[in-house]
Amino acid sequence: MSTASDAEETKSEAIADSAVRSKKVIMITDLPEGSQVRLRNGQIAEVTANPRDGGWLFVKILESDADPSRVGTDDMAFCVDVIDVIK
């Protein structure tokens, strides 16, 4: 059953989502090592470890058109910055 406060909650969540321009929620918790993901900044990254905390992935940058020097470096990717799972 939906209530007024639920609606408020949904609305504020939507605003929060739009603030970070999230298109869809990707549950990263179960992504295994070796998965490849597309990040919001355009980078393609491979999952090197998954802490399974719902928030973060340890990744290695595979492609980075905007800043090619990042290719091959280790980084952490936050959940809302993961916009697609490539494989």
């Binding site: 802490p51 905390d53 928030g55 973060w56 952490m76 936050f78």
Partner: protein, 468 residues
């Protein structure tokens, strides 16, 4: 703060603790303001027991612990180094770990997602590039780490005060005894591991009831534990009248209350009249094979220590920990009237499983909140605390007179220690003395190094063995 330290109401703290006469105001056990001062004056300064390295054997392993009222995380980082962190996110304070133990790559805050490596570094901040735009230096926002940590033969201790002396100096004459507590029964250093998990339970009493009386209150046993022998929980079962403790071989020694008043540590310890370790006496009549193991272990230890005089094997480490070969007792302050009691059980790391099982079951039926012996302690601490809060009750000081003025030194038998008859309140007076010093001190400089204080007799006398 200074004004509060110097006086409470119209009375100074010092006036509440008259150790020469053995009179101590109930106020220091029940007063909320004094309790809050303790958290600052005692618990942010003293070395506190955190846990044991065996609880976190692998990189990424962690277990939560406590320092005073506050939760900390003992963690082994990915480079195999131990750390102790306050369990709070630097962003908005949320606990970054809400599990009792486990293995992890990072501690991620479930509030906004700040994420910390197992070495405490802040490694993940959501929207870091887009929103902070490089204005925040992540290296300044790691998990709060203790000022000093010490891995003492496998046991882990820490303090929030960088001015505190080293842990070994803090132990003083108890350093050797503390080392031996963490040896296996064959006398090998780093020889034990802890059973998991530790007991944690709440006792409605001020932390000083158990903290200051345990291993300093042999007088309580005859009455508090009147009912225990009928249960025959000892390893020998019904033999020896159902005594709860293992049987011991006769070995010439004298038991004392033994303490270092200038440091606050103390225990019930024995001075042996000959070097070496007592032979093993069979006691595990209820379970086959256990005696064989412990006898063999004891023989190895006897060989190692055959020329060495031993003093005791239990120690109360000021302020709130008691360490013994098979149990570690910690009394965390939880509020003025509540103690969160923790209990950990060491066991020979290399012991066969059936020995570990027998020892574990003995410890479970002996102690803790469900143990047959200690359940009666809880009742007494609970209602002693409750009956001390009254306006009229507080007009009547506690009596700490037992053995006051009869302490003595035996520099040959127990160097650095102050001794008293085996049933005295010398250790409790020592802890109260150190308590007062901590409560009045502006910093560690005021309380360390210490000058040896004379025992409460005012003048040390040479003991004559066995006459006490």
């Amino acid at each position: 703060m200074t004004a509060l330290v110097r006086s409470y109401g119209d009375r100074s703290l010092r006036s509440l603790v008259d150790l020469d006469r053995g009179l101590v105001s109930r106020e220091i056990y029940v007063n909320e303001d004094i309790y809050k001062m303790e958290l600052e004056q005692v618990y942010t300064r003293a070395w506190l027991f955190i846990g044991h390295e065996s609880q976190v054997p692998n990189p990424g392993d962690f277990v939560v612990s406590r320092m005073g009222e506050e939760e900390v995380i003992l963690v082994r980082d990915r480079k195999n180094e131990l750390h102790v962190f306050l369990n709070t996110c630097r962003h908005r304070g949320m606990k970054v770990c809400r599990y009792d133990d486990g293995n992890t790559l990072v501690f991620t805050c479930p509030f906004h997602g700040w994420s910390y490596d197992t070495d405490g570094r802040l490694v993940g901040v959501p929207y870091y590039d887009a929103a902070y735009k490089g204005d925040m230096d992540k290296s300044e926002w790691g998990l709060p780490e203790v000022a000093q940590m010490c891995n003492y033969y496998g046991s882990v201790w820490a303090t929030w005060d960088k001015g505190a002396p080293s842990f070994e100096d803090y132990l003083g004459p108890y350093a050797d005894m503390a080392r031996r507590v963490f040896q296996s029964t064959d006398g090998e250093d780093n020889g034990v591991e802890l059973f998991n998990p530790v007991y944690k339970w709440r006792i409605p009493c001020n932390w000083k009831f158990p903290g200051f009386s345990f291993d300093g209150d042999r007088a309580h046993g005859a009455m508090t534990h009147r009912s225990i022998n009928v249960a025959a929980i000892g390893p020998q079962g019904d033999a020896n009248g159902g005594n709860r403790s293992p049987l011991l071989a006769p070995f010439p020694y004298t038991d004392y209350e033994m303490t270092v008043p200038e440091l606050g540590h103390g225990g019930h310890n024995a001075i042996y009249d000959q070097p070496g370790v007592a032979p093993y006496k069979d006691t595990w009549f209820t379970e086959p094979g256990i005696d064989d193991y412990y006898r063999e272990q004891r023989e190895k230890k006897r060989e190692k220590y055959k020329d060495k005089y031993i003093v005791g094997e239990t120690a109360h480490i000021w302020p709130n920990v008691n360490i013994q070969p098979h149990r570690i007792l910690i009394w965390h302050p939880h509020s003025a009237g509540v103690t969160e009691s923790w209990r950990a059980y060491p066991i020979d790391r290399m012991a066969p499983q059936f020995v570990k099982d027998a020892q574990r079951r003995y410890m479970m039926r002996y102690g803790g909140p469900c143990g047959l012996t200690e359940s009666d302690d809880m009742e007494n601490w609970n209602y002693a605390s409750a009956a001390s809060t009254g306006t009229v009750a507080k007009r009547f000081p506690y009596n700490f007179m037992m053995g006051a003025g009869h302490a003595f030194k035996d520099e040959e038998g127990a160097p650095g220690m102050t001794l008293n008859y085996e049933v005295a309140e010398e250790n409790q007076r020592s802890r109260l003395r150190r308590w007062l010093e901590f409560m009045e001190a502006g910093s560690w400089e005021d309380i360390y190094p210490v000058n040896p204080v004379s025992p409460s007799a005012g003048q040390a006398v040479k003991a004559e063995r066995g006459t006490v």
